[in-house]
Symmetry: C2
Subunit: 441 residues, 2 copies
């Protein structure tokens, strides 16, 4: 594979470069049925359309070793679950075939590049397609693997002596989230109403019911499961990569005041379940392989055997950014960090999650937990940290300032991996949402 | 509807009386496809078979006001979700029609009672059918509404001064559970492996990985959602009944030692997600209407408006029992209580869950939380309470004794409502599971 594609306006520095080939679910004005596509530069390649415009023999030639019937069936669904379930060797072969089809010196010019009829039908500008949730998600688990976030929040609420709970370095702490409120990039987020304590120190504690005053974000990476495990059977950490379909950006919107009142003793509930946004394009696990790094967090504790991995480079260096756009249209990048600050890898999370026999299903989503860097407020993945729970303001462009989000604010997460040597770049596109008000009752 | 059915060996004191008509998913040796049925006495009526053996005109006569095409489609699925989604008025009419079909003086004798051909095809002995999970469950939420359980557990871990958290009387505390490990009555449950502290008081805390030594049960009632709400739209407590499909018994198997080490600060995870068992037959919401009572728990706190219900009789008096059968075959009833000890109703749970706009989907399951009575150990819904976290033994038949469950133990939950005046009885059948050992890794 060369670095260049014949796609018009293509740049290898696009999020959706030839080195990426992320999968998503599109619909378009001429075809309202949601269907699988990949993104390349500023275009989406409609896979269902391309597959039905190409002979089975030709498809088999492009996707070496893949059962064409199974693939066509999987890529004619309204979610990527069936494709994910085909397994990582198939994803690898399909991604490779699409790179061959799309690269400058493609061996298959007649199948797309030089075939105007098929090209016109199957290639759509990204600006002209509507993105849908890429997977049907049955279970969603949110971990807490961002060390600097856990530390900073711990210091804030319990002081530096007790910042981390005793279990934190021994296991990837996580909790079950709400799957039904996961939405795709661009979906508006309604400010939730909930029970809150206006004066948390007053006794007796008397809640009121109203809109959250502490609407926050959490910058996370999400991981989709491809292969299910049987109930009662755990997944070995050394084989957990086989169970991963791909990755998205994830914003775990959080209402800090609702969460503070409700979460003892069983964990976050309404403070979280009103909405979680993910980016629209699933970056396949193989596309991130060149960007493996050692975690920046050193864990001096001797890990339990089921968490011990073989290599050292178990996390990815995804450069992450948080943009806040106010209703006057001005945008400020308020946070910059990297997924190398995760102290647990997704294989470790999967091994821990299944240790007792919990079954994963295709399409299950794992969130990394909020990712923050070791530096100052500009490296934080939540407003909670940036503002010390509302005590300090974050300054924005145009002399705006925020403690927590206002109605009309938009938050956009961005993420990409880049190798300066090779020029390889793999990005996630955006993960954004705008806040509006007024839950009906 | 009279009290008697023409079904052979029928007794109105059966769990599956004419007053009940619970729905489930069966398969049989002659038809391995899972399909909807109702239970009556010792029989299952295969609804798909009956509907395809009966003319649409006749079906329309039995089920007044129901669209026959929609009903036939809904009742030809492998789960009850499509039927649930038809809404409570349809469930009501279908239950009424089935009671008419099955009662002694049925106005439709030629459609089943006196039609040997259809009877032979559509009626199966319960002992001859296999039961499947009745619903496809995407999200499962477990509440904590059993007051005496919350109190007893609180006293055990924090003393009577701080037994209940400040939020407990103000809102139905709950957390997101794991949907993928919910299984139907009879499914074996593997003892989970997990991280545990052998000596919780030793410093520094050093976990080991091994099988739980504190495998417990939680006696709960589960509630299935029929109608979805839009994300961002909350459900009014006064209309929440319309969103309820029906009820099952639920055993929230719990590994207390895994849970104790992992649950701070984000709640239970691997201590719960290895398995949750529900009874196979969904008792429709309407079947429980005659058994409404006022909650036995008085809440002196002025409730937030969104939790205020209209009537007083907001919970049901379901008599609940826990049987423990050891591997030598001897059975002891170790707990007896009632769902009248729930301090929050399911409509209140639904109103709270959706307050911030969290969407419910058809098939979502809500657990009540462990139900215990105010009395001694014999009224408790968990071994944690019966044994004071393993300090005292529960004596069983045959001079057996338990603190927590051993391999080979079976636990069976039972539940029924009875009206001694009218002789009405509505039961749930059993909710059971047997423990075996050895998670593969
Ligand atoms: Ca989070
Ligand atoms: Ca429970
Ligand atoms: Mg969220
Ligand atoms: Mg459970
Ligand atoms: Ni229709």
């Amino acid at each position: 594979m060369a670095n260049e594609s014949w796609i018009s306006d293509y740049s290898p520095s696009s999020d959706f470069s030839l080195a990426n080939i992320p999968f998503g679910i599109i619909s378009s004005p001429d075809n309202h049925t949601p269907r699988p596509a990949i993104a390349i530069g500023d275009f989406a390649l409609d896979l269902e359309t391309w597959l039905t415009s190409t002979t089975e023999e030709n498809v088999a030639e492009v996707f070496q070793g893949v059962d064409v019937g199974h693939l066509k069936l999987a890529l004619s669904q309204a979610t990527l679950n069936a494709f994910a379930a085909l397994g990582r060797p198939v994803h690898r072969s399909v991604r490779k075939g699409l790179q061959d089809l799309l690269c400058q010196d493609t061996p298959f010019p007649q199948l797309l590049k030089d075939n105007e009829g098929v090209r016109t039908k199957a290639l759509k500008r990204l600006s002209e397609v509507t993105m849908h949730l890429p997977m049907w998600i049955s279970d969603y688990t949110d971990f807490y693997a961002g060390y600097h976030h856990a530390w900073a929040v711990g210091v804030m609420f319990r002081g530096p002596e007790n910042a981390l709970q005793p279990n934190y370095m021994h296991l990837p702490v996580g909790y079950h989230g709400r799957a039904s409120s996961i939405v795709v990039d661009g979906t508006p987020i309604r400010r939730p109403v909930g029970q809150i304590l206006l004066d948390p120190k007053a006794e007796p504690k008397q809640p009121v019911t109203g809109p959250t005053r502490k609407l926050d974000i959490e910058l996370e990476v999400g991981c989709f499961i491809s292969k299910p495990n049987e109930m009662g059977e755990s997944v070995d950490v050394k084989r957990a990569e086989e169970y991963i379909f791909g990755y998205v950006l994830l914003n775990d919107w959080s209402a800090r005041d609702i969460q503070a009142w409700e979460y003892v003793p069983l964990g976050p509930f309404n403070g979280k379940n009103f909405g979680t946004t993910i980016s629209a394009w699933v970056v396949l696990a193989d596309a991130l392989e060149p960007f493996r790094v050692k975690s920046d967090i050193e864990n001096k504790i001797e890990l339990q055997g089921y968490l011990q991995e073989e290599g050292e480079k178990v996390v990815f260096d995804i450069k992450l950014e948080v943009d806040l756009t106010t209703s006057d249209g001005s945008t400020t990048t308020i946070g910059r960090t990297s997924s190398k600050y995760l102290m647990w890898s997704f294989p470790q999370m999967i091994a821990h999650h299944t240790l007792g026999g919990c079954p994963m299903r295709t399409g299950d989503l794992l969130g990394s937990g909020t990712i923050s860097g070791p530096g100052g407020v500009e490296e934080r993945g939540s407003l909670l940290e940036m503002t010390e729970n509302g005590k300090k303001e974050v300054l924005l462009a145009g002399m705006n300032a925020r403690t927590f989000l206002k109605d009309g604010d938009s938050v956009t997460l961005r993420g990409f991996c880049a190798d300066n040597g090779s020029g390889l770049r793999v990005g996630f596109g955006r993960c954004s949402g705008t806040i509006y008000s007024g839950v009906h009752r």
